[in-house]
Symmetry: C2
Subunit: 122 residues, 2 copies
Amino acid sequence: MSFEPDVLQGFVQRYLDTAARGNADDVAALYAEDATLEDPVGGGEVHIGRQAIAGFYKVMEGAEVTTELLSFRAGGHEAAFMFAITVGGAMRIEPIEVMTFDGDGMITSMKAYWGPQNVTQL
Amino acid sequence: MSFEPDVLQGFVQRYLDTAARGNADDVAALYAEDATLEDPVGGGEVHIGRQAIAGFYKVMEGAEVTTELLSFRAGGHEAAFMFAITVGGAMRIEPIEVMTFDGDGMITSMKAYWGPQNVTQL
């Protein structure tokens, strides 16, 4: 299974746009039913399944969020990208994320690599 | 198992420096015996084991290679990073790579995300 780079970038842009709109269920709906999410990688917690993933995004609801894709790389049915997310106009984080997709373009796994050293107070 | 970000960045910088020196066995020696390598992701081939990995790097031997770390993110015992590699002064590629490490700092898996659209002719 493989997607053209432009198609994968579209999936990622849709994810970033949806995350910026701030509805947790809408973001979770981009994930496959049995998807996994690890954010941050090494944080010790992997969220498994769409319901758990919705719970993860709930913490951002109500905050003013902006997202911007900075760098994008495609590979088969996977994508790796760097992006910026600002939260409440107070904080900017620049993670590198890796996502895998199923044949329907649903996210099957997401891993976000970032730490305190990638956070800027605004 | 987890490493401090600075330690992980040291592993990655050592890898990039070794790759630039161009000896395939030296690069392969940074990998665990049973490591896996997929470069590019989606290319259809996963190299398994240090010997196969040495074979992968053999193709670069003899070429003038430079490497430069552009962005680095740490997570537990993993690292995600963007870097530039120039080959023979003729071509510059900017992949995003993800690596995992064992407790001894050996690379246990490497995945490189890039495609023709990330290659510049110099």
